[in-house]
């Protein structure tokens, strides 16, 4: 777990990408991890073809949840909503690398959960965590 906190993770934690709100988002979703209180909100701007044009996230929480969310926003611009809705936990794990303990997996997946919720327009089930 200590190997998890590499420089680029801390960089995303302290200087998150796409942080803030969109003025006129097409969709917005927000959720919290009741176990630790981490919160994430995602605003998406989607064009009529269903392609994500812009994204902002905001929230509070640990380096894992905030950095994972920040990294996700980098990859989501230009994606089709339906593909966003299908993103798997691997999309997150590829970003953050190895070494997340099972107790922190929900933190890592919070941004993904919210993003997918936004994409499918309503709160999705927790992404599968196996």
């Amino acid at each position: 777990m200590d190997d998890f906190y590499r420089d680029y993770i801390l960089e995303h934690y302290r200087n998150p990408h796409h942080f803030g709100h969109l003025e006129a988002p097409t969709v917005t979703a927000e959720d919290l991890n009741p176990l630790c209180g981490d919160r994430i909100r995602m605003d998406l701007l989607v064009d009529r073809n269903g392609t994500v044009q812009d994204v902002r996230f905001s929230g509070k929480g640990c380096a894992i949840s905030q950095a994972s969310a920040s990294m996700l926003t980098d990859s989501v611009v230009g994606m089709k909503l339906e593909d966003v809705a299908k993103l798997s936990k691997d999309a997150v794990l590829e970003n953050v690398g190895i070494g997340i303990s099972p107790t922190r997996m929900k933190c890592a997946m919070l941004g993904l959960r919210v993003l997918k919720s936004a994409a499918i327009g309503s709160l999705a089930a927790w992404p599968d965590e196996e």
């Binding site: 919290l32 009741p34 303990s101 107790t103």
Partner: protein, 414 residues
């Protein structure tokens, strides 16, 4: 006589340390009170021990290693228990025992859904734990109780069922009665209760330990049972609840772990099943319950049921000659229709005196009203003696019971 010496039973007995004990009088322990509580196999005792020695920690919020291991073991136990009755893990609430599981339904579902003038249907053979909570609910709500009658042989009489169900908000019924061992014909009763629009609660305290149980096939809404009667530790039980009903139901006990967000004046709740588990649960107990389920699955519930039928049949045969001394065996007396329980009386000897004399021979049976006072009254019995069987009982146990009953008859000069 169908006397048998199943090597499987000897192997099972070796797994239960207590059965190797002898009493203070040097007698072999003949444990015939599993309907009150079962004995525990080494696998369960060791699961508790390992938890406390290696990974005792509070669950769900802990970041560190042993907390993660404890959380995983607890939730794994939930999945094991849920699957044992063919429910989903998120439909399985851990409680202290079957009694609390029934109270949970009576308070949480009952208070929200049962109103003045509504009827609640029970049977005349219920354990106090499946009667008193409904009396109190009826009192709070201004509802009324109705009862499916039992006949003199201890079988349920279904002639009036549809009339009894008319206007009923809920039916709560024992799957297996604990005094006579009667197996309720749920496959007949539940469809009619559901057709009448009643919620169906099943008290499975005496069934889950002895019969294969499938809540989906039964089509019940709630199913309550206790770990301690099925090889598990004391202090933990389970309530299966149909997902949609659990979701709609208000919480019951509240506090840590069952919340989502809390403000000074407002709280939102976690999802089921956690919504119904307030405070630090019986973590070791749940893990031990899981180990008990694994032991039962390893043995096989189908084998277990056959074993109990066989031993009940053997006991009935061995007891028959004592009838000329005044022994009366109550209930259906048909191993196909009972759950390994035999209630009886020996002439004018009070059941407590029978039990005391048997105790001197190391034979443990129960005597009294078995928490079914109204049934005793209905049957006109002051008390009964009750022997109950489980997977570790063998024909020697039955023989010891019979020999000790003969001794009681001699003492009382029958």
């Amino acid at each position: 006589m169908l006397r048998a010496c199943d090597p499987r039973v000897s192997a099972i007995r070796a797994d239960f340390p207590i059965l190797a004990q002898s009493t203070s009088r040097g007698k072999r322990l003949v444990y015939l009170d599993s309907a009150a509580t079962s004995q525990k196999p080494l696998a369960v005792i060791e699961a508790l021990d390992t938890y406390y020695r290696e990974y005792n920690a509070n669950i769900h919020r802990g970041v560190y290693e042993i907390a993660a291991r404890a959380t995983e073991a607890y939730e794994n136990a939930r999945a094991l228990v849920a699957r044992f009755v063919n429910g989903a893990p998120n439909e399985l609430v851990f409680t202290r025992n079957a009694t609390e599981a029934i109270n949970l339904v009576a308070y949480a579902w009952g208070s929200a859904n049962v109103h003045a003038g509504d009827a609640i249907l029970l049977t005349e053979m219920e354990h106090h734990s499946n009667l008193v909570p409904w009396q109190l609910l009826a009192q709070r709500a201004g509802a009324m109780l109705r009862f499916i009658p039992v006949d003199d042989a201890g079988s349920l009489v279904l002639d009036d069922l549809d009339r009894l169900l008319d206007g009923c908000k809920l039916l709560s019924i024992a799957h297996v009665g604990n005094t006579l061992g009667t197996i309720a014909p749920l496959e007949i009763i539940i469809p009619r209760a559901r057709a009448a629009g009643a919620l169906v609660v099943v008290d499975g305290a005496q069934a889950a330990p002895h019969l294969p149980v499938d809540v989906v096939a039964l089509d019940c809404d709630f199913y309550a049972f206790s770990a301690h009667k099925m090889l598990g530790p004391t202090g933990v039980g389970a309530l299966y609840g149909r997902r949609a009903i659990l979701e709609a139901m208000p919480p019951f006990l509240s506090g840590g772990d069952m919340i989502r967000t809390v403000e000074y004046r407002h709280t939102t709740f976690n999802e089921p099943p956690w919504k119904f588990e307030a405070g630090t649960g019986n973590i070791a107990g749940a893990i031990g319950f899981g180990a008990a389920i694994e032991y039962l699955q390893g043995t096989g519930m189908a084998w277990l049921r056959e074993h109990e039928k066989r031993i009940t049949r053997y006991a009935l045969e061995r007891l028959a000659p004592l009838e000329r001394l005044g022994l009366k065996v109550y209930g259906p007396r048909d191993p196909e229709r009972t759950g390994g329980v035999l209630s009886f009386n020996l002439a004018d000897v009070h059941a407590h005196d029978v039990a005391s004399i048997l105790d001197t021979d190391g034979v443990c049976i129960r005597a009294g009203h078995h928490c079914t006072m109204p049934l005793m009254e209905r049957m006109g019995w002051e008390a009964t003696a009750r022997a109950s069987f489980y997977l570790y009982n063998d024909d020697d146990d039955v023989d010891a019971l019979v020999a000790s009953l003969e001794k009681a008859a001699r003492i009382f000069k029958l």
